[in-house]
C-alpha cells in the first residue's frame, strides 16, 4: 500500500500540509493524489473510531453469518450488494469457509436487529440461512485498543 494511504489509515485527520511534511513531498502533489484516490474510491470514506460504551451509545451491534444461494453469472455479488445497501448494515464481506457473507449490523435495540434479520434479511430470495451473534464488549476496533497501554517512561536524555 502506498505510504500516503498508510498514513491516512492510521490518522485520517492529517491534512495535505502534514501529509506532505511526513512524506517529503509537495503539498499540492499530495492534495491532488488524495483527491484522485477519493475519486477512484480507493479511499471510501473517513470516520472517527469511537468506543460506543464510553460514548454512551447503547445501540446493539451484531454480526450475522449468512449462507447464500449463488447465481449463475454473478455468483454472490447481486445478493451481497443488495444486503449491503440496508442502513442497518455497517460492514459486509464475502467469506471463505462455512458461510458466505459476514454482515455487521447495528440497531437501537435487540428487537430492531431481530426484526431486520427476520423480516428483511431472511426473506430475501437466495438467503438460505442466518446465524446472529450479538456483540458484548469491544476490546479492539479498527486497529485501536479500547484500553490503551500506559505509556512507558523513558529516560528524557540518554546517549
Amino acid at each position: 500500500m502506498e505510504a500516503l494511504l498508510e498514513l491516512l489509515q492510521q490518522n485520517a485527520r492529517l491534512g495535505p500540509a502534514q501529509l506532505a511534511e511526513r512524506l517529503g513531498q509537495d503539498e499540492a502533489v499530495v492534495a491532488a493524489r488524495v483527491a484522485e484516490l477519493e475519486k477512484e474510491k480507493v479511499i471510501l470514506g473517513y470516520h472517527g473510531v469511537i468506543d460506543r460504551d464510553k460514548a454512551g451509545n447503547h445501540n446493539v451491534a451484531a454480526f450475522i453469518e449468512v449462507k447464500l444461494m449463488p447465481e449463475r453469472g454473478g455468483g454472490f455479488d447481486r445478493l451481497a450488494q443488495r444486503i449491503a445497501k440496508f442502513d442497518q448494515v455497517t460492514s459486509c464481506f464475502l467469506m471463505s469457509g462455512g458461510y458466505d457473507l459476514a454482515v455487521f449490523v447495528e440497531g437501537e435495540d435487540l428487537r430492531e436487529v431481530a426484526r431486520f434479520v427476520a423480516e428483511r434479511l431472511s426473506t430475501i430470495e437466495g438467503v438460505q440461512s442466518t446465524a446472529t451473534h450479538f456483540q458484548l464488549k469491544v476490546y479492539k476496533q479498527n486497529g485501536f485498543l479500547a484500553e490503551v497501554e500506559a505509556e512507558a517512561t523513558r529516560l528524557p536524555v540518554a546517549p
Partner: protein, 396 residues
C-alpha cells in the same frame, strides 16, 4: 578515607559524562518535550513481548549456555547471513551478550594490551572511548566532518595509524550523526585494515534503520565491513535488538567473530556475566524469526518523522544534512553564535525542548546538537514549532 587514590587510574581518568549534567537539568522540569532520548518511542512489538511472557510461563528461568541458546545463535546466523551477507558458525562464532555495550567492552578487553592504540571516529556514541580506556587501551580519534556528511574518510584513518594501532572501531549508521558509510569509502578503510593488519570492531546496531530514495521511505543501503573480501577474519561484528526491534530494556546483543576471538570474548563473558537473561533470549528468537514486518513498519514511521524534521529545519534556516540512518538528526547551529551547550541550555530554559549538545559525543560534535526523531508525531510537531520560535528570536 581518601578515596581518590583508591580508584583505578583508568577509571578515574574517565571524565564525567556531559550528558549526565544535562540529564539532571531536564529531570528537574515536567513541561519538557525531549528530543534527547536515545531509544525508540515504541515498546517492543507485542509478538516479541508475548514470546518473553510465554518463556516465563514455561518456566524457562535458568542459565543458558555461556554463548547463548543454540537456537538463538542459529537464528542470529541466519539473520546475519540474510542481512549482512556473511556466514557465521552458530557453534563457535557467535556470542550472545547483554546488549552491544557488553559486547564492545569484552571485545576491547579480549584484544587490548596496555598501550595498544584504538582508532575510533567522533562524533560518536559515548561509550567507545571509555571502553577502550577501561581495557587499558589508548583511544585515538579520527574525526568525521559535517562537510563530508559525517562519512569516515579513509585518509582520516590512515593518518592516525601508528605501529601501536591494533583496533579500528566503526559505528555506521552513526549515533549521533545519523551518517551511513558509503560502500566505496568502506572498501578503502577495509584495505587499510588489511594493509596494517588491524582488527575491526564494527557496531552496526542501527543497520536496519536506513532511509533511501528521494523521500527516505525505502530502506537505504547498508554495507557491513564484515562482508567485504578478506574482512570476516579480522572483524568483530556487533549487533543487537535494542534499536530496530525496540527492545532496549531486554539488554540483548551479540558478537560475531572468528572462533578464536569469540572464545576469548566468551572467557570474559562467562565470568563477568555468565549468560544473557534467558527470557530476553527467547524474545530475541521471536524477533529474528518473525520481526521483519514490525521493524519495517517502525522504520517507515521514523522515515516520515525524519522528513518532517528535515523540512522544518530547512524552513527555520537551520542547516542539517539528511541523515541516512538511525533516528537522529544532527543540525548545525554554529550560525547562531552559540556553543552546542549554550544552544541546548537556552532551548531548554526558554522553550522547554531538550536536545543533546553535540560536544557530548566528542569535540568534533561542537557546534551541532542531536535531535532524536523517535518521538510521537504530535509532540515532535510541537517541539519543532518551539525550536522555530527559539531560532527566530536568535536570528532577530
Amino acid at each position: 578515607m581518601n578515596y581518590t587514590d583508591r580508584i583505578a587510574r583508568q577509571v578515574a581518568g574517565i571524565p564525567r559524562s556531559g550528558i549526565r549534567d544535562f540529564f539532571e537539568l531536564v529531570l528537574g522540569r515536567d513541561d519538557v518535550i525531549s528530543l534527547g532520548v536515545g531509544e525508540p518511542d515504541y515498546s517492543a512489538p507485542w509478538h516479541i513481548r508475548e514470546a518473553a511472557i510465554y518463556s516465563l510461563e514455561k518456566g524457562q528461568t535458568s542459565y543458558t549456555s555461556n554463548l547463548g541458546l543454540l537456537s538463538l545463535r542459529k537464528s542470529i546466523a541466519a539473520y546475519v547471513a540474510k542481512h549482512f551477507s556473511v556466514a557465521y558458525n552458530p557453534a563457535n562464532e557467535i556470542l550472545v551478550t547483554v546488549g552491544v555495550s557488553e559486547a564492545l567492552d569484552i571485545a576491547c578487553r579480549a584484544l587490548l594490551n596496555p598501550g595498544d592504540e584504538v582508532i575510533y571516529h567522533e562524533p560518536c556514541y559515548v561509550s567507545y572511548s571509555p571502553s577502550i580506556a577501561m581495557a587499558h587501551g589508548v583511544p585515538v580519534v579520527a574525526e568525521t566532518r559535517v562537510e563530508d556528511n559525517f562519512e569516515l574518510k579513509a585518509d582520516a584513518v590512515a593518518e592516525k595509524i601508528t605501529p601501536r594501532t591494533k583496533l579500528l572501531m566503526l559505528n555506521f549508521p552513526t549515533n549521533p550523526t545519523g551518517a551511513v558509510q558509503p560502500a566505496g569509502e568502506l572498501e578503502k578503510i577495509a584495505a587499510l585494515a588489511i594493509q596494517h593488519d588491524l582488527i575491526v570492531i564494527s557496531d552496526e546496531i542501527y543497520s536496519e534503520l536506513t532511509y533511501g530514495g528521494e523521500d527516505g521511505m525505502d530502506r537505504g543501503e547498508h554495507t557491513s565491513i564484515a562482508g567485504l573480501p578478506g574482512m570476516k577474519e579480522r572483524t568483530i561484528l556487533l549487533h543487537g535488538f535494542s534499536k530496530a526491534f525496540a527492545m532496549t530494556g531486554f539488554r540483548l546483543g551479540y558478537a560475531c567473530a572468528p572462533a578464536e576471538l569469540t572464545e576469548a570474548m566468551m572467557k570474559i563473558h562467562q565470568y563477568a556475566m555468565l549468560c544473557a537473561p534467558i527470557m530476553s533470549q527467547a524474545a530475541g528468537i521471536e524477533a529474528l524469526e518473525h520481526g521483519d514486518g514490525p521493524v519495517e513498519e517502525m522504520r517507515r514511521s521514523y522515515a516520515q518523522r525524519r522528513n518532517l524534521m528535515l523540512r522544518r529545519f530547512a524552513e527555520m534556516g537551520v542547516p542539517c544534512f539528511p541523515p541516512g540512518g538511525a533516528f537522529y538528526a544532527f543540525p548545525d547551529v554554529r550560525k547562531f553564535g552559540l556553543t552546542s551547550k549554550e544552544f541546548a541550555l537556552r532551548l531548554l530554559e526558554e522553550e522547554s525542548v531538550a536536545v543533546v549538545p553535540g560536544n557530548a559525543f566528542g569535540a568534533a560534535g561542537e557546534g551541532l546538537v542531536r535531535a532524536c526523531y523517535a518521538t510521537a508525531f504530535d509532540r515532535l510537531e510541537v517541539a519543532l514549532e518551539r525550536i522555530g520560535n527559539f531560532v527566530s528570536r536568535l536570528k532577530a
